[in-house]
């Protein structure tokens, strides 16, 4: 049961949401089917703990890592039991002491010291004894690791520290003293050499163990830190390396938003008479229809038109804006996407047909990095899409309003504003930089429901969440 509880801890560290109720289910299920068959336990834990397909991969990786360790520990227990049974010359008490040692090695070392003092040829420290008998140490290592809270490991730089700590727990101090002492007397040379060798072996074993535990507990923790950092980092500072990770974050954010707000119901005052409900409501009045009931609910889905600037001035953030645009269209119905530098181009179909990587690549290649012309682009928008904008439409513009001194055609934007339900302008620059240089943000601003700086993922998420709530 302890293994399962630890494993759940590791899953949580890796970012899976495992509730206490689910943990209890897992334990109950394990009680029914046991942990003997690895395949069965894998299935059982997956059934009870992993509720999202995306988590399946992490789960499998962790399970294999984790239960490889458990398997080793189990077999070593069996082996050590066998070994102690075979050693016929050993008295009963000694073998039981051995078992005790395996469990409480660190604590019993003091007592053993005094026992072994008189003996010259065999090692005196308990760790030395254990090593010279070629005992399997993995159980003791596991115990020491638990005592040292190895599961709290976060960074790879901590690996050596924990290895050292575990060695200390196992009684390495006394062993080292003994080795040093043995160096002084020539008749103990052989013993010393052997001890040094077995100590090195033990150290290797401890390091392997720490490495494996690091894999279980820390690798994904690192990812979590990285994700938290990325959410707050400025879009313009992210590099290509982070891009992959960002893609996942953006998609997750978009999906979260969409599932929270996917269906909006709007109550209408009057509609069709709902005969069934009316009869039901008036049955108590002898069938005389006092109260009327109307078909009151109507499903309203937000309609979104999103326009994204991909010109040279926003080239550093364009990818991320597009990423979000793509994810939005992916998870929400009725999103029309446009990109522009100087020409307005509808990319809804392109997004639908291509995978995210290809679509973004193609857009950046064909239209990205050109010089901006808001006037021309808006004129294009007017002819392509203005007619379809109605009072249910939300228009989102992602752009910096840097227009190379050209005519901004704010008149079109005004029309858009008047026809639509709301207009939202997201500017990837800080407020202070608006209206500096060729930025004409303040000319567009009157015709926007709101203008917001959108400089990191958190911003985007916040803005869209609000947008969906009120749309």
């Amino acid at each position: 049961m302890r293994f399962v509880a630890d494993f759940i801890g590791a899953l949580r560290e890796a970012g899976l949401h495992v509730s206490p109720a689910e943990s209890l289910d897992a334990l109950k299920a394990i009680k029914l089917l046991g942990l003997e068959s690895r395949q069965t336990s894998k299935t059982v834990l997956a059934l009870t703990l992993v509720k999202r397909q995306a988590d399946q991969v992490i789960y499998e990786e962790l399970f294999d890592l984790y239960f490889a360790g458990v398997g080793k520990a189990k077999t070593s227990i069996k082996e050590s039991n066998k070994a102690s049974n075979k050693e016929a010359d050993k008295s009963e008490s000694e073998s039981s002491e051995n078992a005790q040692e395996a469990k409480n090695n660190p604590h019993s070392s003091q007592a053993d010291m005094s026992d072994g003092e008189g003996m010259q040829t065999s090692p005196s420290s308990s760790l030395g004894k254990a090593l010279s008998k070629n005992k399997d140490m993995s159980l003791a290592i596991t115990q020491a690791a638990i005592d040292e809270k190895l599961s709290s490991i976060v960074l790879f730089t901590q690996k050596n520290y924990f290895a050292y700590k575990i060695m200390q727990r196992l009684g390495d101090d006394l062993l080292s003293t003994e080795i040093r002492a043995a160096a002084n007397s020539p008749e103990h040379k052989r013993k010393q050499r052997e001890l040094i060798k077995s100590r090195a072996r033990l150290l290797d074993q401890v390091k392997d163990y720490v490495e494996q535990q690091y894999g279980i507990f820390a690798q994904h923790k690192g990812l979590k830190y990285r994700e938290e950092y990325l959410q707050q980092a400025k879009l313009s500072q992210l590099d290509r390396l982070d891009y992959k990770l960002m893609q996942r974050l953006v998609q997750r954010a978009a999906r979260k938003l969409a599932s929270q707000h996917s269906r909006k119901r709007l109550t209408r005052k009057r509609g069709q008479l709902d005969v069934r409900k009316t009869i039901a409501a008036n049955a108590a009045f002898d069938g005389a229809l006092f109260h009327t009931r109307w078909k009151a609910t109507r499903i309203e889905r937000p309609k979104i038109v999103a326009i994204c600037d991909v010109s040279g001035s926003v080239s550093r953030v364009a990818r991320f804006l597009l990423l979000f645009l793509y994810s939005m269209q992916d998870v929400m119905p009725k999103v029309r996407s446009f990109v522009f530098a100087s020409e307005m181009i509808q990319v809804t179909e392109l997004f639908k047909q291509q995978g995210i990587e290809l679509a973004l690549e193609e857009i950046m290649k064909r239209w990205g990095g050109l010089s901006t012309d808001y006037g021309k682009a808006l004129a294009g928008f007017q002819s392509q899409a203005l007619a379809s904008i109605d009072k249910k439409t939300t228009v989102i513009m992602l752009g910096d309003a840097r227009n190379n001194q050209g005519d901004g055609r704010t008149d079109i934007w005004e029309k858009v504003f008047r026809q639509s339900k709301r207009v939202l302008w997201l500017n990837p620059e800080h407020r202070n930089s608006w209206d500096t240089g060729d930025s004409i943000m303040s000319e567009y601003a009157p015709w926007c429901g709101s203008v917001e700086p959108c400089r990191n993922l958190k911003d985007i998420e916040r803005i869209f969440s609000r947008l969906l709530k009120y749309s």
Binding site: A29, T40, V44, S262, D286
Partner: protein, 311 residues
């Protein structure tokens, strides 16, 4: 659920074997899920691509346990009056008529308004009572004496509010009807929910269920499924079919062929007396496998190469 034959669910292996006898070939994890659902009394949420036998699993489970299968298909706008219960309005109206005629008898000899009202109160009110309740699937499942297998199909199609409404049923096997009170399950049903993942289900719902993901079967499993479902199919042809389907699933199609399509296709080939897959027959019957014109156009030029790689 009262399971009369406990030995039927003694272990996942038995379930897996017996299901095979009934013609449903399932993987070990599916059998384990059924086993756990029976023993832990928890609903199973089954996800997976369309056509891998999610609904079939519920049907076969009902057959296997000799329990009635109560099926509820979800759709947008489904509400509790269609899923849980409805009042029998017509009967209620008649009841008020009957009541009116009896009113004279009840009130005879009553002095003053107070006494009349008191008598009225003493007179049993069954206007909102079990008698006038028309049970819908969910209530039926709770009321069936020996338990039932309740299949809530395509839960992702229902509204989010409905999902919330299901929570009480899934965790405590009871529902609240405002006019009557809480209705507890006579015997807990085995509940299966299926989802095609058109939208992400709420965490609260997922938490209450065992989560079973049925992927496309691997080649060996699919071959066995074909063997049981399509009798008289040549072994060599069967292997070819399975291999080709596997290849198709690796292609970037809008909709990959599912198990049900494999079975349809195999039946068609058998009917056409095809002995070996060749590009002519594959081309002719491709529309059985692929349901989008885009997909067909994508696959058609590749057929020869695909068939070659099989050999």
């Amino acid at each position: 659920m009262i399971i009369k034959h406990q030995e039927k669910i003694a272990s996942p292996e038995i379930i897996q074997r017996r299901y095979e006898g009934l013609g449903y070939i399932c993987s070990h994890s599916v059998a384990t899920a059924i086993y756990l659902a029976c023993h832990l009394q928890k609903p199973i949420l089954i996800e997976g691509p369309p056509g891998v036998g999610k609904t079939e699993l519920a049907k076969i489970t009902a057959t296997y346990l000799n329990a009635p299968l109560i099926r509820m298909q979800c759709y947008e706008g489904l509400d509790e009056s269609k899923a849980l219960y409805e009042w029998k309005y017509g009967k209620q109206l008649l009841y008020t008529q009957v009541l009116k005629e009896q009113l004279g008898d009840v009130l005879r000899g009553a002095r003053g308004l107070d006494e009349s009202i008191a008598r009225l109160h003493d007179f049993g009110d069954i206007f909102y009572s079990q008698e006038f309740l028309e049970p819908r699937p969910l209530l039926q499942a709770l009321q069936s004496e020996d338990g039932a297998v309740l299949l809530i199909d395509e839960i992702d199609k229902a509204d989010q509010e409905f999902e919330a409404f299901l929570l009480e049923l899934l965790s405590d096997y009871q529902v609240s009807i405002p006019e009557i009170g809480t209705v507890k399950a006579v015997s807990t049903p085995i509940v299966m929910l299926t989802s095609n993942n058109t939208r992400e289900l709420g965490d609260a719902l997922k938490r209450r269920c065992l989560h079973l993901y049925i992927p496309f079967p691997d080649a060996a499993l699919e071959s066995r499924i074909l063997a049981t479902q399509v009798e008289g199919l040549d072994t060599q042809l069967r292997e070819q079919i399975v291999a080709l389907i596997g290849k198709l699933r690796d292609m970037p199609l809008k909709k990959s062929p599912a198990v049900s399509e494999t079975i349809d296709w195999a039946r068609a080939l058998l009917l056409l007396n095809v002995e070996e897959l060749d590009s002519h027959w594959v081309k002719e019957t491709l529309n059985l496998l692929l349901k989008f014109q885009d997909d067909i156009e994508l696959v058609e030029p590749e057929i020869a190469a695909l068939l070659k790689s099989l050999r």
